[in-house]
Symmetry: C2
Subunit: 231 residues, 2 copies
């Protein structure tokens, strides 16, 4: 049986996973709302962000209470502090999904994205959602190899972001300035959403390996795999 | 004489103020670099962001050591946790100043901003820098009235951001898509920079009043002023 202390620590982990689940769903639904010009779906994404914000506030309260009552040191202390950081990443991801939904709402009954960019935006949305699903899995499993996969997925998002810009800069762009502004901002929202998912995964790697790098270093992952788990 | 514990707490506060000073200077210099198409100045802003990142890492290390060794509770614990959050805001502000400088570098030897928008962008840059200077002052003085001023300044930035969008959406826009994309992103960078400065000020208000609101509530400020300082 786990003691009260580890139960509190687990509860913080559960909240992080729930936040990741909610924001992953939000970015998927926001993307659908935008491509289908579905106002109701957009409104629901916008309204649901409150749940994410509430989870973050609860998590922060729990973490501070745990620090005050249990006064963890070493690894446990790092877990709590890092969880606070991760919750900030996830809360911000929720905001970004909400921004996408707001663009959808603003342009209703039209789609903010022209047809010839639907496939690119759909792929960015799917990748962003998948990155967040993997980030949640990394929180649960502390699997550093899976964390490495997020770096590769993030590179794909960056490639799509570049594709989007090439379309915008193409002399044949015929959708006008308003759509160019929308697409510019949407590209930025997806890219930042993905960055936050990657950041969550990196923080887990930091907890496992003790290294917080700008990029996850495969050598550190191998070294960690050879050591006893730091769970 | 202050004890070692409060010296450590002060050191964390000093680091936050230094970070705010650096990123405030960075956004001012990045704006100048962009309007004057000054490549050298842009390069220096881009390179100097390393210092901000280093300060953040140091601050995080110091905060975790302090939590482990001194095991603060109540107000002191909240100060340390909130400082971690503020350092994340400031680090991100540094990134945004660097983004502005990178746009300047990308468009050199041209200015990324057309002449008829220089005044608007200049004002956004100046306001952003002033917001960060005030945020630093709020960290030092814990002056909740000054924190309220940041909300008003932030409203001005939002107004300028709207002005920028009106220019973009105007049928008479004649600067093409590339410039529209640059201006869209620049507007977003300044707006987010200002948001982070406001967030820092709000976190100080939270420490003083115990309330973390989406907007600083003047009533809470008045209530706090009537109570003994929570320093």
């Amino acid at each position: 049986m786990r003691d009260a202390y580890h139960e509190e620590l687990d509860a913080i982990g559960d909240s992080l996973v729930e936040m990741a689940r909610l924001v992953g769903s939000a970015i998927g639904r926001a993307t659908t709302a935008m491509l289908d010009a579905d106002l109701k779906l957009a409104e629901s994404v916008i309204a649901n962000d409150d749940k994410v914000d509430e989870l973050q506030r609860d998590l922060e309260t729990k973490a501070i209470q745990l620090l005050a009552r249990q006064q963890p040191v070493a690894t446990d202390l790092r877990i709590v502090v890092t969880s606070l950081r991760m919750s900030a990443d996830l809360e911000r991801s929720g905001d970004l999904a909400q921004h996408v939904a707001k663009v959808a709402r603003l342009r209703f009954p039209d789609s903010a994205v022209p047809r010839d960019l639907h496939a690119t935006i759909l792929e960015m949305g799917q990748l962003a959602q998948r990155l967040m699903a993997k980030a949640a899995e990394v929180i649960i499993t502390k699997d550093v190899d899976l964390a490495l996969q997020l770096e590769a997925d993030d590179d794909k998002i960056d490639d799509l972001h570049r594709t989007l810009f090439q379309h915008l800069m193409d002399d044949r762009w015929k959708h006008g300035i308003e759509t160019a502004v929308d697409v510019t901002l949407l590209g930025r929202y997806y890219e930042r959403f993905a960055d936050h998912a990657v950041s969550v995964a990196r923080r887990v790697v930091y907890l496992v390996t003790g290294d917080y790098a700008d990029e996850i270093d495969p050598a550190a992952v191998v070294a960690a795999a050879e050591e006893p788990a730091a769970d």
